[in-house]
Protein backbone atom coordinates (compact mmCIF):
# COMPACT_ATOMS: atom_id res chain seq x y z
CA UNK A 1 0.00 0.00 0.00
CA UNK A 2 0.95 3.65 -0.18
CA UNK A 3 1.89 4.68 3.35
CA UNK A 4 1.40 8.21 4.55
CA UNK A 5 1.83 10.22 7.71
CA UNK A 6 -0.30 13.18 8.69
CA UNK A 7 1.52 16.48 8.68
CA UNK A 8 2.06 18.15 12.06
CA UNK A 9 -0.97 20.19 13.11
CA UNK A 10 1.02 23.42 13.12
CA UNK A 11 1.99 22.93 9.50
CA UNK A 12 -1.63 22.18 8.54
CA UNK A 13 -2.77 25.35 10.31
CA UNK A 14 -0.08 27.28 8.49
CA UNK A 15 -1.21 25.91 5.13
CA UNK A 16 -4.86 26.74 5.83
CA UNK A 17 -3.91 30.21 7.07
CA UNK A 18 -6.37 32.66 5.66
CA UNK A 19 -8.98 30.17 4.44
CA UNK A 20 -12.20 29.94 6.37
CA UNK A 21 -14.53 27.71 4.40
CA UNK A 22 -12.78 24.33 4.19
CA UNK A 23 -13.70 21.06 2.51
CA UNK A 24 -11.70 18.25 4.11
CA UNK A 25 -11.55 15.12 1.94
CA UNK A 26 -10.34 11.73 3.10
CA UNK A 27 -9.57 8.65 1.05
CA UNK A 28 -10.83 5.16 1.81
CA UNK A 29 -7.99 3.19 0.26
CA UNK A 30 -4.29 3.07 1.27
CA UNK A 31 -4.24 6.00 3.70
CA UNK A 32 -7.28 4.62 5.49
CA UNK A 33 -5.55 1.27 5.95
CA UNK A 34 -2.47 2.97 7.41
CA UNK A 35 -4.62 5.10 9.74
CA UNK A 36 -3.62 8.40 8.20
CA UNK A 37 -6.34 9.79 5.99
CA UNK A 38 -9.53 7.73 6.21
CA UNK A 39 -12.92 8.87 7.57
CA UNK A 40 -11.80 8.60 11.20
CA UNK A 41 -8.71 10.69 10.64
CA UNK A 42 -10.77 13.24 8.72
CA UNK A 43 -13.08 13.53 11.76
CA UNK A 44 -10.13 13.94 14.13
CA UNK A 45 -8.48 16.64 12.03
CA UNK A 46 -11.79 18.47 11.55
CA UNK A 47 -12.37 18.48 15.33
CA UNK A 48 -8.85 19.71 15.96
CA UNK A 49 -9.32 22.54 13.49
CA UNK A 50 -12.70 23.48 14.97
CA UNK A 51 -11.30 23.50 18.50
CA UNK A 52 -8.34 25.61 17.48
CA UNK A 53 -10.67 27.88 15.49
CA UNK A 54 -13.02 28.34 18.45
CA UNK A 55 -10.23 30.17 20.24
CA UNK A 56 -9.88 32.63 17.36
CA UNK A 57 -12.11 35.46 16.22
CA UNK A 58 -13.28 33.87 13.01
CA UNK A 59 -14.65 30.35 13.39
CA UNK A 60 -13.79 28.14 10.44
CA UNK A 61 -16.52 26.24 8.61
CA UNK A 62 -15.28 22.73 7.99
CA UNK A 63 -17.10 20.19 5.94
CA UNK A 64 -15.90 16.56 6.01
CA UNK A 65 -16.19 13.80 3.48
CA UNK A 66 -14.32 10.63 2.60
CA UNK A 67 -14.46 8.98 -0.79
CA UNK A 68 -13.43 5.46 -1.73
CA UNK A 69 -10.45 6.42 -3.88
CA UNK A 70 -9.06 9.86 -4.52
CA UNK A 71 -6.92 8.59 -7.38
CA UNK A 72 -9.88 7.72 -9.61
CA UNK A 73 -11.91 10.33 -11.41
CA UNK A 74 -15.25 8.47 -10.95
CA UNK A 75 -14.91 8.68 -7.18
CA UNK A 76 -13.65 12.24 -7.26
CA UNK A 77 -16.85 13.24 -9.03
CA UNK A 78 -18.59 12.59 -5.68
CA UNK A 79 -16.55 15.44 -4.23
CA UNK A 80 -17.88 17.68 -7.00
CA UNK A 81 -21.44 16.99 -5.79
CA UNK A 82 -20.59 18.22 -2.32
CA UNK A 83 -18.41 21.10 -3.43
CA UNK A 84 -20.16 24.39 -2.84
CA UNK A 85 -17.52 26.93 -3.66
CA UNK A 86 -15.40 26.28 -0.58
CA UNK A 87 -12.36 28.55 -0.15
CA UNK A 88 -10.07 25.58 -0.12
CA UNK A 89 -9.99 21.80 -0.38
CA UNK A 90 -7.68 19.95 1.96
CA UNK A 91 -6.92 16.38 0.95
CA UNK A 92 -5.92 13.66 3.36
CA UNK A 93 -4.92 11.28 0.56
CA UNK A 94 -1.50 10.46 -0.87
CA UNK A 95 0.17 12.84 -3.33
CA UNK A 96 -1.66 11.19 -6.23
CA UNK A 97 -5.03 11.89 -4.60
CA UNK A 98 -4.14 15.52 -3.89
CA UNK A 99 -3.17 16.03 -7.53
CA UNK A 100 -6.28 14.31 -8.79
CA UNK A 101 -8.36 16.82 -6.81
CA UNK A 102 -6.23 19.71 -8.05
CA UNK A 103 -6.87 18.59 -11.61
CA UNK A 104 -10.62 18.21 -11.00
CA UNK A 105 -10.96 21.61 -9.27
CA UNK A 106 -8.77 23.96 -11.31
CA UNK A 107 -10.14 27.12 -9.68
CA UNK A 108 -9.82 26.10 -6.04
CA UNK A 109 -6.63 25.75 -3.99
CA UNK A 110 -6.05 22.11 -3.02
CA UNK A 111 -3.73 21.46 -0.07
CA UNK A 112 -2.15 18.29 1.34
CA UNK A 113 -2.67 17.26 4.96
CA UNK A 114 -0.50 14.18 4.60
CA UNK A 115 3.13 13.45 3.78
CA UNK A 116 3.20 10.50 1.40
CA UNK A 117 6.04 8.42 2.77
CA UNK A 118 6.53 5.20 0.82
CA UNK A 119 5.20 2.02 -0.73
CA UNK A 120 5.29 -0.55 1.96
CA UNK A 121 3.58 -2.86 4.33
CA UNK A 122 2.38 -3.10 7.89
CA UNK A 123 5.05 -5.13 9.66
CA UNK A 124 3.24 -5.19 12.97
CA UNK A 125 0.62 -2.91 14.48
CA UNK A 126 1.88 0.66 14.15
CA UNK A 127 5.05 -0.26 12.23
CA UNK A 128 5.22 0.31 8.52
CA UNK A 129 8.26 -0.48 6.38
CA UNK A 130 9.24 0.45 2.85
CA UNK A 131 9.40 -2.46 0.44
CA UNK A 132 9.17 -1.08 -3.06
CA UNK A 133 10.34 2.02 -4.91
CA UNK A 134 8.40 1.29 -8.07
CA UNK A 135 11.64 1.19 -10.08
CA UNK A 136 9.81 -0.33 -13.03
CA UNK A 137 12.09 -3.36 -13.50
CA UNK A 138 11.44 -5.85 -10.72
CA UNK A 139 14.44 -7.94 -9.65
CA UNK A 140 12.85 -9.77 -6.72
CA UNK A 141 13.14 -13.07 -8.59
CA UNK A 142 16.94 -12.94 -8.43
CA UNK A 143 17.23 -11.76 -4.87
CA UNK A 144 15.02 -14.21 -3.02
CA UNK A 145 12.05 -11.89 -2.78
CA UNK A 146 13.98 -9.17 -0.92
CA UNK A 147 14.40 -5.90 -2.75
CA UNK A 148 17.93 -4.46 -2.88
CA UNK A 149 16.62 -1.26 -4.48
CA UNK A 150 14.31 -0.22 -1.68
CA UNK A 151 15.68 -2.12 1.30
CA UNK A 152 19.44 -1.59 0.89
CA UNK A 153 20.32 1.99 1.88
CA UNK A 154 22.72 2.14 -1.07
CA UNK A 155 20.64 0.08 -3.54
CA UNK A 156 23.57 -2.29 -4.10
CA UNK A 157 23.20 -5.12 -6.59
CA UNK A 158 26.37 -7.14 -6.13
CA UNK A 159 26.52 -7.94 -2.46
CA UNK A 160 26.66 -6.14 0.88
CA UNK A 161 28.85 -3.11 1.57
CA UNK A 162 31.36 -3.07 4.38
CA UNK A 163 28.91 -1.51 6.79
CA UNK A 164 26.79 -4.59 7.47
CA UNK A 165 27.25 -5.85 10.99
CA UNK A 166 25.23 -8.26 13.08
CA UNK A 167 22.48 -8.23 10.47
CA UNK A 168 22.06 -4.45 10.71
CA UNK A 169 22.61 -1.69 8.18
CA UNK A 170 25.27 0.96 8.83
CA UNK A 171 22.65 3.71 8.83
CA UNK A 172 21.51 2.47 12.25
CA UNK A 173 18.08 2.84 13.75
CA UNK A 174 17.79 -0.93 13.80
CA UNK A 175 17.37 -1.10 10.02
CA UNK A 176 18.04 -4.67 8.91
CA UNK A 177 20.77 -5.20 6.29
CA UNK A 178 18.88 -6.22 3.16
CA UNK A 179 21.93 -8.11 1.93
CA UNK A 180 22.16 -10.18 5.07
CA UNK A 181 18.49 -11.03 4.53
CA UNK A 182 19.03 -11.81 0.83
CA UNK A 183 21.97 -14.10 1.57
CA UNK A 184 20.21 -15.86 4.47
CA UNK A 185 17.13 -16.47 2.40
CA UNK A 186 18.96 -17.63 -0.72
CA UNK A 187 21.07 -19.96 1.43
CA UNK A 188 17.89 -21.45 2.85
CA UNK A 189 16.45 -21.85 -0.65
CA UNK A 190 19.78 -23.29 -1.87
CA UNK A 191 19.93 -20.53 -4.46
CA UNK A 192 23.12 -18.73 -3.41
CA UNK A 193 24.39 -19.30 -6.95
CA UNK A 194 22.02 -16.51 -7.98
CA UNK A 195 24.62 -14.11 -6.58
CA UNK A 196 27.61 -15.43 -8.52
CA UNK A 197 26.99 -13.59 -11.76
CA UNK A 198 27.96 -9.93 -12.05
CA UNK A 199 24.81 -7.81 -12.08
CA UNK A 200 25.38 -5.05 -14.65
CA UNK A 201 24.34 -1.42 -14.06
CA UNK A 202 20.58 -1.17 -13.68
CA UNK A 203 18.38 0.45 -16.26
CA UNK A 204 17.01 3.32 -14.19
CA UNK A 205 15.12 4.79 -17.12
CA UNK A 206 12.11 2.73 -16.04
CA UNK A 207 12.32 4.37 -12.62
CA UNK A 208 11.62 8.02 -11.97
CA UNK A 209 14.94 8.92 -13.62
CA UNK A 210 13.42 8.51 -17.07
CA UNK A 211 11.09 11.42 -16.30
CA UNK A 212 7.47 11.25 -15.10
CA UNK A 213 6.18 7.82 -16.03
CA UNK A 214 3.13 6.87 -17.98
CA UNK A 215 1.56 3.49 -18.61
CA UNK A 216 -0.71 2.87 -21.57
CA UNK A 217 -2.74 -0.32 -21.59
CA UNK A 218 -4.13 -0.71 -25.10
CA UNK A 219 -6.26 -3.65 -23.99
CA UNK A 220 -7.95 -1.50 -21.37
CA UNK A 221 -8.80 1.45 -23.54
CA UNK A 222 -12.51 1.75 -24.25
Amino acid sequence: MIVGERKPFGEIQGLLGRYNNILLVGCGTCVKVCFTGGDKEVAVLASQLRLAGAKGKKKPVIEEMTIERQCEIEFVDEVAKQFKGHDVIMSMACGAGVQMLAERFPDTPVLPAVNTTFLGLLQKQGHFVENCQGCGTCVLGTFGGICPVSRCAKSLFNGPCGGSQGGKCEIGGDVPCAWQQIIDRLAKLKQLDNLKAHVPPKNWSTARHGGPRKLTREDNIL
Partner: protein, 307 residues
Protein backbone atom coordinates in the same frame (compact mmCIF):
# COMPACT_ATOMS: atom_id res chain seq x y z
CA UNK B 1 54.83 12.27 -20.49
CA UNK B 2 52.88 10.38 -17.90
CA UNK B 3 54.21 6.95 -16.98
CA UNK B 4 51.88 4.13 -17.96
CA UNK B 5 52.58 1.90 -15.00
CA UNK B 6 52.16 3.22 -11.50
CA UNK B 7 54.79 2.82 -8.81
CA UNK B 8 52.30 0.84 -6.72
CA UNK B 9 51.69 -1.58 -9.58
CA UNK B 10 55.44 -1.94 -10.13
CA UNK B 11 56.09 -2.68 -6.43
CA UNK B 12 53.26 -5.19 -6.18
CA UNK B 13 54.14 -6.97 -9.40
CA UNK B 14 57.77 -7.22 -8.28
CA UNK B 15 56.52 -9.09 -5.22
CA UNK B 16 57.80 -6.54 -2.72
CA UNK B 17 55.78 -5.99 0.48
CA UNK B 18 53.89 -2.81 -0.42
CA UNK B 19 53.13 0.09 1.88
CA UNK B 20 50.40 2.62 1.23
CA UNK B 21 49.07 5.37 3.47
CA UNK B 22 46.15 7.71 3.46
CA UNK B 23 45.73 11.44 3.06
CA UNK B 24 42.39 12.96 3.90
CA UNK B 25 41.94 16.18 1.85
CA UNK B 26 41.19 19.34 3.83
CA UNK B 27 37.79 20.84 4.55
CA UNK B 28 38.98 23.90 2.66
CA UNK B 29 40.60 24.93 -0.60
CA UNK B 30 44.09 24.92 0.94
CA UNK B 31 46.46 23.03 -1.37
CA UNK B 32 49.30 23.41 1.15
CA UNK B 33 47.60 21.00 3.53
CA UNK B 34 47.68 18.31 0.85
CA UNK B 35 51.29 19.10 -0.06
CA UNK B 36 52.38 19.05 3.59
CA UNK B 37 50.76 15.67 4.21
CA UNK B 38 52.13 14.29 0.96
CA UNK B 39 55.71 15.35 1.58
CA UNK B 40 55.55 13.88 5.06
CA UNK B 41 54.71 10.48 3.56
CA UNK B 42 56.75 10.68 0.35
CA UNK B 43 59.83 8.62 1.21
CA UNK B 44 58.01 6.16 3.46
CA UNK B 45 55.26 4.71 1.31
CA UNK B 46 54.72 3.50 -2.26
CA UNK B 47 51.49 5.38 -2.80
CA UNK B 48 49.06 7.54 -0.87
CA UNK B 49 45.30 7.05 -0.95
CA UNK B 50 43.27 10.22 -1.27
CA UNK B 51 39.86 9.76 0.29
CA UNK B 52 36.68 10.83 -1.48
CA UNK B 53 34.58 12.86 0.96
CA UNK B 54 35.04 10.20 3.61
CA UNK B 55 32.25 9.77 6.16
CA UNK B 56 30.22 11.95 3.78
CA UNK B 57 31.79 15.19 4.97
CA UNK B 58 32.51 17.72 2.24
CA UNK B 59 36.22 17.96 1.53
CA UNK B 60 38.46 18.92 -1.37
CA UNK B 61 37.81 16.64 -4.36
CA UNK B 62 39.89 13.45 -4.29
CA UNK B 63 40.97 13.81 -7.91
CA UNK B 64 42.07 17.42 -7.38
CA UNK B 65 43.98 16.54 -4.21
CA UNK B 66 45.53 13.52 -5.95
CA UNK B 67 46.72 15.75 -8.80
CA UNK B 68 48.28 18.12 -6.24
CA UNK B 69 50.12 15.18 -4.63
CA UNK B 70 51.37 14.05 -8.01
CA UNK B 71 52.69 17.55 -8.72
CA UNK B 72 55.04 17.24 -5.73
CA UNK B 73 56.20 13.76 -6.67
CA UNK B 74 53.94 11.74 -4.40
CA UNK B 75 52.08 8.89 -6.06
CA UNK B 76 48.37 8.99 -5.28
CA UNK B 77 45.60 6.40 -5.27
CA UNK B 78 42.46 8.42 -5.82
CA UNK B 79 39.37 6.99 -4.21
CA UNK B 80 36.01 7.11 -5.93
CA UNK B 81 32.70 6.48 -4.21
CA UNK B 82 29.38 5.72 -5.91
CA UNK B 83 27.41 7.86 -3.48
CA UNK B 84 27.85 11.23 -5.12
CA UNK B 85 28.13 10.74 -8.87
CA UNK B 86 26.11 8.96 -11.52
CA UNK B 87 27.63 6.91 -14.31
CA UNK B 88 28.12 9.96 -16.53
CA UNK B 89 30.14 11.82 -13.90
CA UNK B 90 32.10 8.75 -12.78
CA UNK B 91 33.22 7.85 -16.30
CA UNK B 92 33.98 11.44 -17.14
CA UNK B 93 36.08 11.85 -13.99
CA UNK B 94 37.93 8.62 -14.77
CA UNK B 95 38.95 10.05 -18.14
CA UNK B 96 40.00 13.29 -16.48
CA UNK B 97 41.97 11.54 -13.75
CA UNK B 98 43.87 9.45 -16.26
CA UNK B 99 44.57 12.53 -18.39
CA UNK B 100 46.06 14.16 -15.28
CA UNK B 101 48.39 11.17 -14.98
CA UNK B 102 46.69 9.62 -11.97
CA UNK B 103 47.26 5.91 -12.34
CA UNK B 104 45.78 4.24 -9.23
CA UNK B 105 42.21 4.30 -8.09
CA UNK B 106 40.12 2.60 -5.44
CA UNK B 107 36.45 1.82 -6.10
CA UNK B 108 34.12 2.17 -3.13
CA UNK B 109 30.40 2.30 -2.41
CA UNK B 110 30.87 5.20 0.00
CA UNK B 111 29.65 5.84 3.53
CA UNK B 112 25.98 6.73 3.64
CA UNK B 113 25.45 10.49 3.66
CA UNK B 114 23.60 10.34 6.95
CA UNK B 115 26.99 10.17 8.70
CA UNK B 116 28.19 13.48 7.31
CA UNK B 117 27.49 17.18 7.27
CA UNK B 118 25.03 16.92 4.36
CA UNK B 119 22.64 14.40 5.84
CA UNK B 120 19.68 15.94 3.97
CA UNK B 121 21.38 15.43 0.61
CA UNK B 122 20.25 13.09 -2.11
CA UNK B 123 22.52 10.13 -2.74
CA UNK B 124 23.15 8.69 -6.17
CA UNK B 125 24.18 5.02 -6.11
CA UNK B 126 23.43 4.79 -9.82
CA UNK B 127 26.01 1.98 -9.99
CA UNK B 128 27.61 0.04 -7.14
CA UNK B 129 31.32 -0.42 -6.41
CA UNK B 130 31.39 -3.77 -8.22
CA UNK B 131 29.85 -2.19 -11.31
CA UNK B 132 32.30 0.71 -11.03
CA UNK B 133 35.18 -1.78 -11.05
CA UNK B 134 33.80 -3.43 -14.15
CA UNK B 135 33.33 0.00 -15.73
CA UNK B 136 36.99 0.94 -15.15
CA UNK B 137 38.07 -2.43 -16.51
CA UNK B 138 35.97 -2.04 -19.65
CA UNK B 139 37.18 1.52 -20.14
CA UNK B 140 40.87 0.67 -19.69
CA UNK B 141 40.95 -2.72 -21.41
CA UNK B 142 38.35 -2.28 -24.15
CA UNK B 143 38.09 1.47 -24.44
CA UNK B 144 34.35 1.14 -23.90
CA UNK B 145 31.84 3.06 -21.82
CA UNK B 146 28.84 1.48 -20.08
CA UNK B 147 26.33 0.17 -22.64
CA UNK B 148 27.93 2.03 -25.54
CA UNK B 149 29.30 0.64 -28.80
CA UNK B 150 31.68 3.58 -29.17
CA UNK B 151 35.36 2.70 -28.76
CA UNK B 152 37.64 5.52 -27.65
CA UNK B 153 41.01 5.93 -29.34
CA UNK B 154 42.87 6.85 -26.15
CA UNK B 155 41.49 4.79 -23.26
CA UNK B 156 42.37 5.72 -19.70
CA UNK B 157 45.26 3.94 -18.00
CA UNK B 158 44.25 3.04 -14.48
CA UNK B 159 45.37 0.43 -11.96
CA UNK B 160 42.11 -0.24 -10.17
CA UNK B 161 41.58 -1.66 -6.74
CA UNK B 162 38.76 -2.26 -4.34
CA UNK B 163 38.12 -2.43 -0.65
CA UNK B 164 37.04 -5.39 1.38
CA UNK B 165 35.96 -5.58 4.98
CA UNK B 166 36.81 -8.99 6.44
CA UNK B 167 35.02 -7.98 9.64
CA UNK B 168 31.65 -7.13 8.17
CA UNK B 169 28.75 -9.52 7.85
CA UNK B 170 27.68 -11.88 6.43
CA UNK B 171 31.20 -13.14 7.27
CA UNK B 172 30.82 -16.39 5.31
CA UNK B 173 30.04 -14.43 2.15
CA UNK B 174 33.02 -12.07 2.35
CA UNK B 175 35.53 -14.23 0.45
CA UNK B 176 32.95 -14.95 -2.26
CA UNK B 177 32.42 -11.23 -2.62
CA UNK B 178 36.17 -10.69 -2.93
CA UNK B 179 36.22 -13.23 -5.74
CA UNK B 180 33.47 -11.31 -7.49
CA UNK B 181 35.54 -8.13 -7.19
CA UNK B 182 38.55 -9.86 -8.73
CA UNK B 183 36.38 -11.06 -11.58
CA UNK B 184 35.16 -7.51 -12.04
CA UNK B 185 38.76 -6.42 -12.51
CA UNK B 186 40.19 -5.50 -9.09
CA UNK B 187 43.98 -5.65 -9.27
CA UNK B 188 44.58 -4.86 -5.62
CA UNK B 189 42.56 -4.88 -2.41
CA UNK B 190 42.87 -2.65 0.62
CA UNK B 191 41.07 -3.99 3.65
CA UNK B 192 39.31 -2.39 6.58
CA UNK B 193 41.59 -1.79 9.61
CA UNK B 194 42.80 -5.02 11.18
CA UNK B 195 42.59 -5.04 14.96
CA UNK B 196 41.13 -8.52 15.22
CA UNK B 197 44.01 -10.55 13.79
CA UNK B 198 42.32 -13.85 14.52
CA UNK B 199 39.27 -13.01 12.45
CA UNK B 200 41.47 -11.61 9.69
CA UNK B 201 43.48 -14.85 9.66
CA UNK B 202 40.25 -16.86 9.32
CA UNK B 203 39.25 -14.71 6.36
CA UNK B 204 42.71 -15.06 4.78
CA UNK B 205 42.46 -18.83 5.16
CA UNK B 206 39.26 -18.80 3.10
CA UNK B 207 40.93 -16.43 0.62
CA UNK B 208 43.84 -18.85 0.18
CA UNK B 209 41.50 -21.83 -0.05
CA UNK B 210 39.92 -20.13 -3.05
CA UNK B 211 43.35 -19.20 -4.43
CA UNK B 212 42.36 -15.52 -4.46
CA UNK B 213 45.67 -14.26 -3.01
CA UNK B 214 47.31 -15.39 -6.25
CA UNK B 215 44.88 -13.40 -8.37
CA UNK B 216 44.91 -10.09 -6.50
CA UNK B 217 47.34 -8.15 -4.30
CA UNK B 218 45.90 -7.90 -0.80
CA UNK B 219 47.01 -4.97 1.34
CA UNK B 220 45.84 -5.31 4.93
CA UNK B 221 44.60 -2.10 6.51
CA UNK B 222 46.05 -0.92 9.83
CA UNK B 223 45.33 2.12 11.98
CA UNK B 224 47.43 3.40 14.87
CA UNK B 225 45.25 4.17 17.89
CA UNK B 226 45.72 7.47 19.70
CA UNK B 227 43.89 6.48 22.87
CA UNK B 228 41.57 3.95 24.48
CA UNK B 229 38.78 6.43 23.80
CA UNK B 230 39.51 6.35 20.08
CA UNK B 231 39.51 2.54 20.17
CA UNK B 232 36.12 2.50 21.87
CA UNK B 233 34.77 5.10 19.44
CA UNK B 234 35.89 3.03 16.48
CA UNK B 235 34.35 -0.11 17.97
CA UNK B 236 31.02 1.55 18.75
CA UNK B 237 30.55 4.26 16.14
CA UNK B 238 32.41 3.35 12.96
CA UNK B 239 30.46 1.12 10.59
CA UNK B 240 31.98 -2.27 9.98
CA UNK B 241 34.82 -1.94 12.51
CA UNK B 242 35.94 -4.76 14.80
CA UNK B 243 38.09 -3.65 17.77
CA UNK B 244 38.50 -6.51 20.28
CA UNK B 245 38.32 -5.77 24.02
CA UNK B 246 41.92 -6.94 24.46
CA UNK B 247 43.13 -4.05 22.28
CA UNK B 248 41.08 -1.54 24.25
CA UNK B 249 42.37 -2.96 27.56
CA UNK B 250 45.93 -2.66 26.33
CA UNK B 251 45.40 1.03 25.51
CA UNK B 252 43.55 1.87 28.74
CA UNK B 253 46.50 2.42 31.16
CA UNK B 254 48.03 5.05 28.85
CA UNK B 255 47.23 8.74 28.38
CA UNK B 256 48.49 11.42 25.97
CA UNK B 257 51.87 10.79 24.31
CA UNK B 258 52.23 7.45 26.08
CA UNK B 259 48.94 6.27 24.63
CA UNK B 260 50.07 7.33 21.17
CA UNK B 261 53.32 5.44 21.63
CA UNK B 262 51.38 2.33 22.65
CA UNK B 263 49.09 2.78 19.63
CA UNK B 264 52.11 2.87 17.33
CA UNK B 265 53.56 -0.19 19.07
CA UNK B 266 50.34 -2.18 18.52
CA UNK B 267 50.28 -1.05 14.89
CA UNK B 268 53.89 -2.15 14.29
CA UNK B 269 53.27 -5.52 15.93
CA UNK B 270 50.16 -5.98 13.78
CA UNK B 271 52.14 -5.21 10.62
CA UNK B 272 54.81 -7.72 11.58
CA UNK B 273 52.19 -10.43 12.10
CA UNK B 274 50.42 -9.54 8.85
CA UNK B 275 53.71 -9.69 6.97
CA UNK B 276 54.15 -13.30 7.98
CA UNK B 277 50.70 -14.25 6.75
CA UNK B 278 50.72 -16.02 3.41
CA UNK B 279 48.90 -14.01 0.79
CA UNK B 280 49.25 -10.58 2.39
CA UNK B 281 51.01 -8.44 -0.21
CA UNK B 282 51.38 -5.27 1.83
CA UNK B 283 49.85 -2.92 4.34
CA UNK B 284 47.66 0.12 4.02
CA UNK B 285 48.28 2.48 6.94
CA UNK B 286 45.29 4.65 7.74
CA UNK B 287 46.60 7.10 10.33
CA UNK B 288 43.45 9.17 10.64
CA UNK B 289 44.40 12.87 10.90
CA UNK B 290 47.78 11.63 12.20
CA UNK B 291 49.90 11.29 9.09
CA UNK B 292 53.03 12.16 11.16
CA UNK B 293 52.82 8.70 12.73
CA UNK B 294 53.37 6.90 9.43
CA UNK B 295 57.17 7.38 9.03
CA UNK B 296 57.77 6.03 12.52
CA UNK B 297 55.48 3.03 11.95
CA UNK B 298 57.08 2.17 8.63
CA UNK B 299 60.56 2.50 10.07
CA UNK B 300 59.84 0.48 13.21
CA UNK B 301 58.12 -2.22 11.14
CA UNK B 302 61.39 -2.59 9.20
CA UNK B 303 59.84 -1.58 5.89
CA UNK B 304 62.49 0.95 4.86
CA UNK B 305 63.89 1.84 2.42
CA UNK B 306 60.99 1.63 -0.01
CA UNK B 307 61.82 -0.08 -3.31
Amino acid sequence: MNAMKSNLQRVLEAGAFAVTAECGPPRSADADVVIRKGLLLKKFVDAVNVTDNQTAIVRMSSIAAAAILKSVGVEPVFQMVCRDRNRIALQSDLLGASALGLRNMLCLSGDHQKFGNQAQGKNVFDIDSMQLLRTVTDMTEKGRFIGDEFVMDAPPVIFAGAAENPFADPFEYRAARLEKKIESGAKFIQTQCVFNLEKFATWMKEVRKRGLHKRVHILAGVTPLKSAGMARYMRDKVAGMDVPDAVIKRMEPFKGPEARAEGIKICVETIQKLRKMEGVAGVHIMAIEWEEAVPEIVEKAGLLPRP
